[in-house]
Symmetry: D2
Subunit: 126 residues, 4 copies
């Protein structure tokens, strides 16, 4: 078992490969700075440009949010939660940071395995 | 094992019991109507007035979103994700409805078991 | 959302209803006594007489083991793990008890919701 | 976030490092051959020689069983399920194979991250 990593799709020529990489990759959307001890929203969204199927035999089963080697939260989905239509899985986790974070997201497609996002650094101030 | 259900805390006298019920109860926050086939945000938040601990031996481990008898999504948390401070677990699931829904949420506290929200009806229109 | 409970199927007349109840019900199989502080195997198996489908749109997604109001362990399955053939989901959790237990199991079918087993008491001795 | 991989501890000098690697590594125990369409037991056990703590702030939260890029099953544990004593997390998944498998296991320690086992090949015959 291996972990696929995001590759900047603007560096990729083949349309099918751009689609394959983009639709499986989790992207982290959040502010670059957070206040220590206050609620901080982190959105994890799959795919930036290309949607992923939500078929019974092919769907995104989980999305995890990690801070370095610590798993903060995981969201599991059942097929059909996106109406069995191609789309972008999207979940907003609210966490409360206490010090600087290096966030990554992981997602699991039931046909194409495990995918890891780029790392996002968040500065946490008093 | 039993499922605790939300009781309107304004009907309860004892402050400690109000706190106990409120801080464990998941509340669903969403629009009352949705468009068929479009992304629809459903927030599940624990506690309306009273925060819940985020201690290693006492935390909210999961929150589920159900439509009738179907589980749409589950979020799992590890202790410390809320900075080990009392607060309100909060997660936003984005789903794509295809017909009218009756949503409920469930949450699990590692010390005080399973709690079910009131049901929220969402009308889904073309 | 409701929790279905096991009903002794020998009290039920209709074959289809026997099948429906049995194949969805988790059964706990374990010794009646355990040694404090020693590993103790608890098998949770779905269905006693009737198998359940393992189809992409109809499968057993999770099985939980509870001791009173505490969830000890959960097993999640992806469709196809039973070869897409009707069968009995079966998982063995090894736990280490410290005092008498009242075990129940819960299972979730993606089409027919949540089911709870009968309670099993385990005496834990020094 | 990275995945730690098992290293044969007989090649390692420092006792503390042997312990660290061994107690976090999932090991797959199963037969080398299986019959197509029949139930096949796969045990995932953490640590071969060294036990892992089961403390509230330091425990094994999940164990996954993978066949190539497909996740077959996951078991989640709550701290205390092993009596808060050092031990070996152990779970038996029963799967039904349909063709040759390359199994790996993953486990997650709440303090020391994600660990992957060596791969185990299982020949599946008619």
């Amino acid at each position: 078992m291996k972990i696929n990593r995001y590759v900047d799709i603007s560096t990729i020529d083949r349309e099918a490969k751009k689609d394959y990489i983009d639709r499986h990759s989790p992207f982290i959307h959040c502010e670059k700075t957070a206040k220590k001890g206050e609620k901080f929203a982190v959105t994890v969204k799959l795919g930036d440009e290309y949607p992923h199927p939500d078929d019974f035999d092919h769907y995104i089963e989980y999305v995890q949010l990690w801070n370095r080697e610590t798993m903060l939260a995981t969201a599991h989905f059942t097929p059909g939660a996106l109406g069995n239509m191609a789309g972008h899985v999207e979940v907003v986790f609210n966490i409360v940071p206490t010090k600087n974070m290096k966030l990554t997201a992981m997602s699991y497609c039931t046909k194409h395995g495990l995918w890891q996002s780029d790392e996002v650094e968040v500065e946490v101030t008093e």
